[in-house]
């Protein structure tokens, strides 16, 4: 597998960093190579945060920001208003977004390939009582991408965040809808 570059977009407090680190762990557990770099702005609750996640079979050498992602993982659909969110997405690139909006409302860019949507906020609030959609959206990620083994992903979630979070992910795994192909 060639290296896949995934950019995360979320807001301070949504747990994007933790989620991405978890993916690295799951990938490494599964014998893959993976790397995550959070981008530090003046990070406060609610402010936009980025992260750069890479998964590959071969060792990953670059430790840079991601300019032309293969995939976007968007934890908060209000972020699509920012120009940087969709910037550089590869031709046919995948978008996974926590939303209930339509592709038009989300202003999905031209070059996007698969666009997957899940109401991670609702699922998280159901199971966790709070809008911390990070583990939830990982369920959708597990479904849409084949970068990490699904069972490893779920068990890693459970190991680190506990049963309820696993439930979130599992529900999202089922609930995710492809709104564009």
């Amino acid at each position: 597998m060639a290296m896949k570059e995934i950019r995360l977009h979320g807001r301070g407090g949504q747990g994007a960093v933790k989620a991405a680190q978890l993916v690295v762990r799951a990938a490494v557990t599964g014998g893959k190579q993976a790397q995550f770099i959070p981008f530090f702005g003046v990070e406060r609750k609610g402010s936009p945060v980025f992260g750069y996640l890479r998964v590959a079979d071969e060792p990953i050498r670059r430790k840079t920001q991601i300019y032309t992602p293969d995939m976007l993982l968007i934890l908060d659909d209000s972020l699509v208003m920012l120009p940087e969110t969709y910037a550089g997405l590869k031709e046919g690139g995948v978008i996974i977004i926590n939303s209930t909006k339509s592709a038009e409302e989300l202003n999905i860019p031209q070059q996007a390939g698969t666009v997957a949507e899940v109401d991670a906020t609702a699922i998280a609030e159901k199971h966790l009582g709070r809008n911390i959609p990070n583990t939830t959206i990982l369920g959708a990620f597990g479904k849409v991408s084949d970068l990490v083994d699904t069972e490893t992903l779920f068990s890693t979630i459970e190991e680190i965040f506990g049963k309820e979070n696993r439930k979130c992910a599992e529900e999202a795994y089922e609930a995710v809808t492809i709104i564009r192909k």
Binding site: V42, R44, K45, S47
Partner: protein, 302 residues
């Protein structure tokens, strides 16, 4: 003017959208001090949550409506010595030189420059908002952290349970420097706080004024964001944070608590204290009692 009218009328000098956490005591302190200090003020906010919250700005935008700078973590008081002296020299005694600094900048990294400026009696109002830790870097212990607290450098481990030492009681140490004015204040007691800022500003026209303000931190300490004032109030009521001042007339306890709340009660519901042992609680209680007795003696109450 009543303190309420003061706060009602005075312009807020800080950006309305500052990124301090919900219910941050520091933000309340910063805004209050600057409302009273007003436009004619040069402000210093060293690295720490209040700078991190945006008060010094970003790119080409400032975080306050007045001239502001971010001193080094370790040189607030000496940097402001230079600023203050230049304004004296220009005959602009009207300009306030005000620092709003965290406990780390005050009690630890910048303590020497603070002590030096205090000794030289520089014309500065120095306000320390004491959230008992290095919050901006992720809540590590500072010397003002209460014994037993959980911080990221003093975790509640199986061999060492939180911070080992008692807190360094900076206001009393500073008061022994022979300042123009020295006081403690709490956001729970706004009238007292406002008056002390006013006194401090007036005193800073003659020399060094120091105000040490209790600054509850929901994020670091672990309590609900609406409890800021409640926590501060309990600190005052338990004598964890007694309100006093020292001016040319000596020491005075501003709020004498008839029947102080036990420390055991104060620490309830604050998660940094959640695993305090009985021994640790007793030890804090004893420190609090001893310290208060010392204050009483200084205030001539014995």
């Amino acid at each position: 003017m009543s303190y309420i009218d003061v706060l009602r009328e005075a312009e807020d000098q800080v950006t309305p959208g500052a990124s301090a956490c919900q219910g941050c005591g520091g933000e309340l302190i910063l805004r209050t001090v600057l409302q009273i200090a007003g436009k004619n003020t040069i402000l210093g906010v060293p690295p720490g949550c209040m700078a991190g919250a945006g008060s010094v700005g970003w790119n080409f935008n400032s975080g306050v409506r007045i001239p502001v700078t971010i001193p080094l973590l370790d040189n607030c008081a000496s940097l402001f010595t230079g600023i203050s002296q230049m304004y004296q020299r220009k005959g602009r005694e009207d300009v306030n030189a005000v620092i709003v600094a965290g406990d780390g900048a005050t009690a630890d990294c910048g303590f020497q420059s603070l002590s030096g400026a205090a000794e030289r009696n520089e014309k500065i109002l120095y306000v320390c908002y004491d959230n008992e830790g290095y919050m901006n870097t992720g809540y590590q212990r500072s010397s003002t952290t209460t014994k037993g607290s959980r911080t990221s450098t003093t975790p509640l481990g199986s061999v060492i349970n939180g911070k080992v030492q008692h807190q360094k009681y900076v206001p009393l140490i500073l008061s022994m420097h022979g300042l123009e004015y020295c006081a403690t204040a709490s956001p729970s007691d706004m009238k007292d706080f406002v008056e002390k800022v006013q006194k401090g500003l007036a005193a800073s026209k003659k020399g060094f004024a120091y105000l040490h303000v209790f600054s509850p931190c929901p994020t670091g300490w672990g309590y609900a964001s609406d409890q800021c004032i409640a926590v501060a109030r309990k600190a005052v009521k338990s004598n964890m944070f007694p309100l006093w001042e020292k001016d040319e007339n000596g020491y005075k306890i501003n709020k004498v608590i008839k029947d102080p709340m036990p420390i055991r009660e104060f620490v309830q519901g604050i998660s940094k204290f959640k695993k305090l042992t009985d021994e640790q609680i007793d030890s804090i209680q004893q420190m609090v009692d001893t310290r208060y007795a010392e204050l009483e003696r200084l205030a001539g109450k014995e």
